[in-house]
Amino acid sequence: MKTTLTALALLMAGSGLAHAEGELFLYNWGNYTSPDMIKKFEEKYGVKVTITDFDSNDTALAKVEAGASGFDLVVPSAGFVGIYAEKGLIEELDLSKLPNHKNIAPEWMNVEWDQGRKWSVPWQWGSTGMSVNVKDYTGDINTSSIFMDPPPELQGKINVIPEMGDVLALATMWAGGNVCSEDPEVMKKVRDALLAAKPKWMSMDYSTVEKMTNHDYSATVDWNGSSLRSRLANPDVAYGYPKEGYGLWMDNVVLLKDAKNTENAYLFLDFIMDPENAAMLSAFARYANGISGSEAFMPDDMKSTPELFPPAEFKDKGQFVTVCTGKALDYQKAIWTELQK
């Protein structure tokens, strides 16, 4: 009975899909959407997809909140999904229109920002750790001390990505707290250590792939996919999972309340939860995707990489980086502003 229903639903969905024509407006991080996958989607459904880029969660939120943005789907990071929901900017998903919803891997189904995945579907996920050039530094790379208390041989050659949430999460875990710590003692330690470490950094910059590949700096706080790209271009680069705790993140697709192409948006959401299509996304963006069964379709150089699959000893050291609230956020904003001066 259940299978017949599902088949029926699929059929209905399918027939609805085949006729859905028109447009879809996706608002996503730049250089993050596989053109091949978009082409496949466009050809399958006859829907023209227009991608527009953003470069920060804050800009994207500001634009969507201002209204009449014209977008249908947005890809915010995990912590921002709740903010979009709280501000009433996104639509609760009609799961009956998403037969592939069942493909979401169990560990990504009941996430803290979206129990039961009623508001968002996975796009890509990854971790924040350390990329280190192992020719320059032979010590332990699985530690945040690399940037919080830089070893002498790395001083002046370290980069820190200018990303508040990710960096402060690493720093707080290094200081012995949880990601959104409200403990003044911990946060004081975080601030003092960061301010003491900053003169030993070279830069606070995003372009880690080029700079690590070309050996402009020797170590950086980095996202795992960037580290993977650097290693593929320069074998001296290795990715370290800080044992004090490393950050986990996920970008998710949400459906905007003022979307004009809702039906096409559902088609797209369902489409990207198909393992084969999800693998296309990963092959392009170089991160994992949270869809069961997509590993089989991944390119060979991503199947068992240390960047995407943390070694057993570090598996439970990852903590999810969310947007903190209340006192914790106040601490973060104050520390980050002081650090960036």
Binding site: L61, A62, W201, S203, H215, Y331, K333, T337, Q340
Partner: protein, 302 residues
């Protein structure tokens, strides 16, 4: 004053406003109206996740000068803000002087070519700027980095033995800013030098003036409007520069533009960002007015 003359002056003023009106309307809509919103925002309280709450608050303005220590709540002078302001003013000033020092000879060179070749040289100076700012900035970084073209050539030539570390230094930032803002200095200078009557130089030399005297006493006073226009066009946008400091400065030491951007972005304190912007605007306006007053005052004397 005769009535006829008064009427003529009235007409003149009327036509001044009529001619300026189209530009003023566009500016009112797309530049001044937004500014009013920002002024209003500076008196509201910040939203938890960015944006604003519609409650009157002076916290944004207080934040320009003072800050609460997040741990012991002690009120102290926000010396960090002042440092950033001062740093921005210094860097912008140095950039303006440097662009003038290289821009003036360049504009002079172009303006003294035969008339037919002038347009060609002008095009030559603007063509690099048809290429996107980000690409140019990356390319500059490519040249000055440790293993980049410049260091490699200098080392091969035996001039230096180890690479000069320029990446992410103030020097790199200055090189980038001078590059970016150079045409803003050269073009206005060219426009004034071009209408300069070169016979005045002959007159100068005939009176046995040295080259330096001619430059100081004849050329500079006449091209002054160009110098004013050029230095405003360089100095002011420099203060709010965003892309160049971010890419060439390495993001560790901010300029005021980046700091304000931080408040509207990850810092999630829009009212402080708004108050800082209005402060910057006031400082720049006062400086500009003083600058223009002094200059036009001088002109009356001369």
């Amino acid at each position: 004053m005769s009535p006829a003359e008064e009427a003529r002056i009235r007409d003149e003023v009327k036509s001044a406003w009529a001619l300026s009106a189209p530009a003023l309307i566009v500016l009112a809509l797309a530049a001044v109206a937004p500014l009013l919103i920002v002024v209003v925002y500076s008196f509201l309280s910040p939203g938890q996740y960015g944006g604003i709450e519609w409650n009157f608050s002076l916290s944004g303005w207080a934040g320009v000068l003072f800050e609460h220590d997040i741990f012991d709540d002690a009120l102290k002078l926000a010396d960090g803000n002042l440092t950033i302001f001062w740093r921005s003013v210094q860097l912008s000033f140095v950039t303006t002087v440097l662009t003038f020092l290289v821009g003036f000879p360049t504009a002079w060179f172009i303006a003294t070519r035969p008339p037919k070749a002038r347009a060609l040289w002008l095009f030559l100076i603007t063509i690099p700027f048809w290429t996107n700012l980000l690409i140019r900035t990356f390319a500059i970084n490519q040249i000055i980095r440790n293993e980049g073209v410049m260091n490699t050539l200098l080392m091969k030539a035996g001039i230096i033995s180890s690479p000069i570390q320029l990446t992410y230094t103030d020097t790199a930032l200055l090189i980038g800013m001078v590059y970016v803002y150079l045409p803003l200095m050269v073009l206005p200078l060219f426009a004034t030098i071009d209408r300069f009557d070169m016979r005045l130089l002959e007159a100068g030399y005939d009176l046995y003036a040295s080259r330096w005297q001619v430059l100081r006493r004849v050329i500079l006073p006449i091209v002054k409007p160009g110098i004013i226009a050029g230095s405003i066009l360089v100095f002011v946008p420099c203060l709010g520069a965003y892309v160049t400091p971010r890419i060439l400065g390495g993001g560790k030491n901010m300029m005021i533009g980046n700091f304000i951007e931080l408040q509207f972005g990850q810092g999630k304190n829009w009212p402080l960002g708004a108050a800082l912007s209005v402060t910057l605007l006031i400082i720049v306006t006062i400086a500009l007015l003083a600058y223009v007053r002094t200059i036009s005052g001088e002109r009356k004397d001369g």
